[in-house]
Symmetry: C2
Subunit: 408 residues, 2 copies
Amino acid sequence: MAVNLHIPTQDSIHPVAGIEIGIAEAGIRKANRKDVTLFRLAPNTAVAGVFTQNRFRAAPVQVCEAHLASGQSIAALVVNTGNANAGTGASGLAASQKTCEAVASLLQLTPQQVLPFSTGVILEPLPVDRLIDALPQAIDNLRPDNWFNAAHSIMTTDTQPKIVSRQLTLQGHTITITGISKGAGMIKPNMATMLGYLATDAGLAPELLREVTQDLANQSFNRITVDGDTSTNDSFIVMATGQSGLQVDNRQHPAFAPLIQALTEAAVELAQKIVRDAEGATKFITINVEQAQSSEEALKVAYAVAHSPLVKTAFYASDPNLGRILAAIGYAGVTDLDVSKVNLWLGDVLVASEGQRHPQYEEADGQRVMKEAEISMRIALGRGDASETVYTCDFSHEYVSINADYRS
Amino acid sequence: MAVNLHIPTQDSIHPVAGIEIGIAEAGIRKANRKDVTLFRLAPNTAVAGVFTQNRFRAAPVQVCEAHLASGQSIAALVVNTGNANAGTGASGLAASQKTCEAVASLLQLTPQQVLPFSTGVILEPLPVDRLIDALPQAIDNLRPDNWFNAAHSIMTTDTQPKIVSRQLTLQGHTITITGISKGAGMIKPNMATMLGYLATDAGLAPELLREVTQDLANQSFNRITVDGDTSTNDSFIVMATGQSGLQVDNRQHPAFAPLIQALTEAAVELAQKIVRDAEGATKFITINVEQAQSSEEALKVAYAVAHSPLVKTAFYASDPNLGRILAAIGYAGVTDLDVSKVNLWLGDVLVASEGQRHPQYEEADGQRVMKEAEISMRIALGRGDASETVYTCDFSHEYVSINADYRS
């Protein structure tokens, strides 16, 4: 079902010097399934993260935040699928901590140097002993070229692995950027049921990496939405090993701008892949809102349109029932919106001008755009200079089927 | 598909003295379909209305508001289905005004004494001449006992007519309350794609009726949600003819409280019928949020749960995947929520206590409640004394089918 989701060949994935990945079968929820992924990071790798804003933050998210705040250098990441360890209270926290202790003991680290991640069903106890028993198996196969396998082993309802990899030359250094993500439903800004791991062998000063990671998230994972549901476990981690020899310690460094540009493109691609593989999606939709008074206002309108079940089902049906888009703009919460200044384009077709059906608009033109698998929509509010772009998908029978049957 | 939607027999519908209703076939969108409904009100009937908060207010909504504000006594209502006359700009406004002028001319009123209503497809021009041509036919069959037929003639995607009727004795007067509503999708507070007309032969002072109408809306039509979409045309009208002889001019009148109680019950029932007939609904769900710091906060949490596609699909599947409810509570926007104080009941089953799975909770108990057609959920936030109740439904394959095919 995935919409134009490009899966690179295994050969085209560049390992990131300083990062090894091991994979294991722990039987967390189902047998014979790779459900544990371990990252080992070379010393001096800078690591930063952005996490869910859901108040029911899962235990591993709480532990991640504490360990990142401890000031100790992060040296390992451990990810399990099958169980989110969320809504599990004190015993869930203890399970995440126990996992970190076990990884630390096997890799000769402190528990604070380990970040735990869980994704899967909420409100059920994590079978932590099975997870820990599988760790030696993961350590046994730690390899730099396991990114493709890792993209598979972190999947839950995903139908396709999500992986990006690119190289560029900066200041005479060949720089690698490789990342993976997972997530297919319960996707909303700030953030999705998603895990994203982006790594580079460029070096970035830890404080700078923290700032950059938030910016990257805001351009990518915080701009995708499938169904408006924000999960308890969302995590986006950026790792900079420095093994390429290039070290960027401030924004004035000549390599800073091109490096961030490349990281942003990789993060956007990873995030878009989640929408392309969204549960039941048949269309990939880009919503651009411009001429808003503020970025916040532009996002409000973009999300109102992106979350409208009526708009999403109309896209599914390729039905240019575009009044539904106007209705969503109207209820987005811009209370002083002058609708007579609103223009709406679907692809290159001007559908509505000055708040009403454009005189030259023909339904056949709207229909032509709606039938494409990649659809872009532009909404001009006529109020200011701010603009924002959000990525979403349509809403199909299949979405209902998947989510009605997820646990059965 | 409707969930426990009681349709009273035609005999049990009490006409409201002072109100006659006529119905016609104008062929607005489809031939051989009753699509025009005309209400004629006796002189001195007090009329008040609450309208959509969508910024794209349809032309008839704008005309209604202007005519209600003109101070002239409202004497007729004209409703068409098949076309919403929304997103139609100046020509749409002219069409609504022309409709009022035609009704006024035929009934010897001023145009300001007529309220127009339209519901149907957005962004297409209203075939106003066909509407006007049908008015004599509607006037020809003006009758007090046409409520049941009117409940049918205002339907769009509704599968069932929605009508309530009751009588009570106040101060020795037999008081009648009868109302109809329509709406099945694009339903959200403030308000739904809904039209609601509630009439009584009690008399209410105009200013008091205006206040009461807003209160009634807040207890009923502003507490239902199907898909989070708010339409351009929502209107709720309350009419008090005074023909019973009972006149209530202030809140101290001994009949005020029982009259409002009866009107509220009728409005809640009319609103709930819309959810019961919601597109594709198989379950009727009542969400009660209590121990909130404010009514606004309680509503925020209730709507987050009610709008979550993941929660709604889980209800459709009778799958007690109740972590999805906790996740929705967590992202509702109560930024300082202490999740360790949150309790959640499904029916009489305590599912989560202190923010985690209740130790005695058994999935079989959750499953038992989920399988019912009427489900109630109680969420206690442990923060204060405010509470609110919202009514919604589940999310099924059928919802997608209906909305993907609406115009075809």
